[in-house]
């Protein structure tokens, strides 16, 4: 039987095409940006130097906007202090000291963003703090204006954060007025998100505030996330709320990494239950 060289060539070309496409699809399904950063750890360390310089220039150009954000944050903190002062006046000094000296549920590590991707469907952020500063994988990252993401990988001086601007990430959110909760997911467009699985009988109004529910060990409760801009019925069984997020990811610079002081205990219990 004679072999047709042209046929063999076509067959080999198809096999090569399937092989290369197969490798690419496996890479897409098994690979996250964070894993890529681990592979390229050395190169990224060198690149982070340039990112820091670039970020300094960006900060210098945006410092007016940054100051406005800090002023607004200060104003909110002053209002909260004033409210708390009113309550503290009603208790004795010893009682007040006893109340505030205990360790809270959460502590925070301040960090600066040195690289922020906002252009993709799967965005990420790089922070200037790492394991040497106490950052660990799985910790949440927040600002006063909302959540930023979750730490996915940590090197001694740098952390890689999977941004909330990520189509595969969700956060447990609630409607402040009635505490009804559901997962909030980024829509892929600017600062728009949706809260899903809200029971259909729930009373929701445009302009209602959405905040974190606290039903996870990652983010503290009651961090404001955004306001409701639309209410849609899905298949007649649930509501889907369109949300405009408070957090402007383009103007991000200073963030806080959240340490849940009871996080390890919660995880241990969860693992035991599983």
């Amino acid at each position: 039987m004679r072999r047709n060289p042209r046929l063999i060539k076509i067959f080999l070309s198809i096999a090569l095409f399937l092989l290369l496409e197969g490798i690419s699809v496996i890479l897409i399904t098994n690979n996250s940006i964070i894993q890529k950063y681990r592979i390229m750890g050395f190169t990224r360390s060198a690149q982070s130097f340039f990112w820091k310089q670039g970020e300094s220039v960006r900060y210098f150009l945006n410092y007016k906007k940054e100051n406005q954000l800090l002023e607004a944050e200060n104003r909110i903190l002053k209002e909260r202090i004033a409210t708390l002062k009113k309550y503290l006046d009603d208790v004795s000094a010893e009682e007040a000291i006893a109340r505030v000296s205990g360790t809270g549920d959460y502590t925070f590590i301040p960090a600066t963003i040195i690289k922020n991707s906002i252009n993709k469907q799967h965005n990420y952020i790089i922070l200037n703090v790492g394991s040497k500063n106490g950052v660990e994988e799985g910790m949440g990252v927040i600002t006063s204006w909302g959540i930023v993401g979750i730490v996915e990988a940590v090197s001694p001086r740098i952390s890689y954060v999977s941004s909330f601007l990520n189509t595969s990430q969700s956060v447990s959110a609630k409607i402040v007025s009635n505490d009804v909760f559901g997962p909030m997911i980024w829509t892929g467009v600017a600062n728009k998100a949706v809260v899903r699985e809200i029971p259909i009988h729930t009373e929701v109004y445009l302009g209602d505030t959405i905040s974190t529910s606290g039903y996870s060990a990652i983010f503290p409760p009651d961090i404001p996330l955004g306001i409701v801009t639309s209410v849609d019925e899905v298949n007649g069984v649930a509501l889907e709320l369109g949300v405009e997020m408070f957090q402007n990811f383009r103007a991000l610079r200073l963030v806080d990494v959240v340490i849940n002081n009871y996080g390890k205990e919660i995880n241990t219990i969860e693992n035991e239950m599983e």
Binding site: L16, L20, S24, I28, N119, K120
Partner: protein, 172 residues
Amino acid sequence: MRWNKNRSIFVLIAVMMVIQIIICDYIYTGPYIHLTLLPLIILSIPTEIGYPKLALISFAVGFLIDLVSDGILGLNSAAAVMTATFVKPISFITINRERNDKLERPTLSDVGFFRYFRYSSYLTLVFLVTYILFDCAGFRPASFILMRIALSYVANILMILFVSITLLNKRY
């Protein structure tokens, strides 16, 4: 002479890869537009090397861009291999067969604006459809995907024509 020509093409591809990495890392185009020079890089690889080499080079270039720029590993390489597969059939359709056999790398001045426009348009569409489907399918509405393909196509074809006229419109 041949060594010089190969070196020129290699330098050209390297320059376009650097531009592509800069586009990926530093240029914000919004969620609807994906800017890429990869179809043009594939288009500038001489077709005389044959499909296996063309596919392997395209995969390597895509993988390298995935590795050093923002994004998911495998996305650019999948789209690049798909585009490389369609180079020969599309060049047969858009540039006539006799002419195509004589050309190792069609340029705008060789085949004329209209033919070159069709040739690069189809290749860009193959690349964008593959890239955007792998990136968005399953968790993005069809309207978003179609809009992204359409807007990315317009932006990319303008950029590709500009680079083709300024950088590629000569024989190396």
